[in-house]
């Protein structure tokens, strides 16, 4: 389930608006409130949230319930599956997981199917498959499973930059018309798009440190070497002016926080020194 998903599209499920969005529906359908975890939820409570969060939606959850019992989709035991499904929904509610509307719509559909199967059906409707809501659900489950499997197979194919790698060579030696340079507008537009996308998909934040500090971080890092300490004060003073000292100092703190540099002192009260972390002494050995 994706709590960030937006309910924009029309769901193919027959929605019953009068019961769908209302949380009460669970109790009415089930007859009595669910007060404890169902016995067949044999998942450690700590893992439950992660487990439930890993479902891609109500179809995925239903499919799981059916497959776990080794059942054929074509013969879903509606009563039993409905009971289990409701139990999971209740757990999600109890854990205050953001419950997407789709789960409640499915709950309503299951309830409807179950109730219709309990009632005697008019004879003339019996031959009409489409009138049986179970048929529509079965078709949808089959179709979903089909693509779920297809997704796994696509993911298993060798993929560029994950499993296989393009072979390329530098074109530095080639002559030609100069490549287009980026414009500031293009760059800003691209960054705005990334930030927008990041806000939609993930928890990554592009934080707002001063660019002068980040720029100085790069410069300082490039000047430091793992095998050789550099005097801390010299690093600060090499940047002219008071503001330069502040920027350098902040940059050094940031680099320290990021674990990119380490501090040293040959003896107490001697000058504080810095070097890049790591002991790569061989990097510069390639002949020029």
């Amino acid at each position: 389930m994706d709590p960030r998903a937006e309910s924009e599209g029309d769901l193919a499920l027959p929605t019953t608006a009068e019961t769908g969005a209302d949380g009460d529906v669970l109790y009415r359908v089930h007859g009595e409130p669910v007060v404890e975890l169902p016995a067949d939820l044999y998942i450690p409570p700590d893992a439950l949230e992660v487990f439930l969060d890993s479902f891609e939606g109500p179809l995925d959850l239903l499919l799981y319930l059916i497959r776990r019992q080794n059942l054929d989709i074509l013969a879903i035991p509606i009563a039993e599956i409905t009971r289990q499904y409701m139990a999971y929904i209740e757990v999600m509610r109890a854990l205050r997981l953001e419950l997407a509307g789709e789960y409640l719509v499915m709950a309503a559909l299951l309830a409807e199917i179950k109730s219709r199967m309990l009632l005697p059906r008019p004879r003339e409707a019996e031959s009409d498959d489409d009138a049986d809501p179970r048929m529509a659900l079965i078709r949808q489950l089959q179709e979903y499973e089909q693509f779920k499997t297809a997704a796994e197979r696509i993911d298993a194919l060798p993929r560029m930059d994950r499993d296989v790698y393009a072979a390329g060579a530098s074109v530095e030696a080639l002559e030609g018309p100069p490549p287009p340079a980026p414009t500031l507008d293009e760059l800003m537009e691209a960054l705005a798009a990334v930030m927008h996308r990041a806000s939609l998909t993930a928890h990554h934040h592009v934080s707002t440190e001063q660019l002068s500090v980040r720029s100085r971080m790069s410069d300082i890092l490039e000047r430091l070497h793992p095998e050789q300490f550099v005097d801390f004060v010299a690093l600060l003073l090499s940047a002219e002016g008071r503001q330069g000292v502040v920027v350098s100092f902040l940059a050094i703190l940031e680099l320290t926080k990021a674990g990119l540099i380490e501090w040293g002192q040959s003896e107490p009260y001697s000058p504080i020194q810095l070097r890049r972390r790591g002991a790569d002494t061989t990097e510069r050995e390639a002949p020029a």
């Binding site: 009563a79 199967m117 089959q142 693509f147 390329g168 939609l200």
Partner: protein, 224 residues
Amino acid sequence: MSEGRTVEAGVEQLGAIELALEAVLFAAAEPVPARDLKAACADLGEVDQALLERALDRLEARYRDRAIELVRSAGGYRFRVRARFSATVQAAQPERPARLSRALLETLAIIAYRQPVTRAEIEAVRGVAVSSGIMRTLQEREWVRVVGHKEVPGRPALYATTRGFLDDLGLARLDELPPLEQIRDLADVASDAGLSLGPSADDEAPAPGTSHRLDFDREPDARD
């Protein structure tokens, strides 16, 4: 004698074409279509499809025992590190890209097999809303693009996979994707399931391995 010289010239031309192709293929970041490969040989005499393929064959043979191979996918030709050296490459650059989410993969699979398809149709199959982030990521990755709009109210965008998607999976054509599992006929459903309420736990699982080739020409909304 004059014939000997023609053959000689032919071999020389073939060698020159082979080198030109090699330069172009290594310089390119993406697979290079045959058309562009021919354009690169403009100064090397008449280069028809047959000659191009001969040169490509020679180039392929040249790297037969090497760590890289010439491969052909949807977008054209490219050199690729042989799969058996993937671990070696990863040892030198161990940062592997993040795994793709199931939501993204399922969305991608539906677009791949059902294209062109609208977002609402994808949502109907998955039973949940598809986030805007996923659609944007798929398009940004250049695996999916909008190929038109469906002539229904709202004119929703129709999505399809790109050549880049096939290239990234090393496929030449869409029908090289793994086949979809076959869905059992709904006529069976009615008879098997009957209308009984009780669980039929002893029913057999659907026979595995029944699969069929995908019909890509099928309209995405044919099922409704």
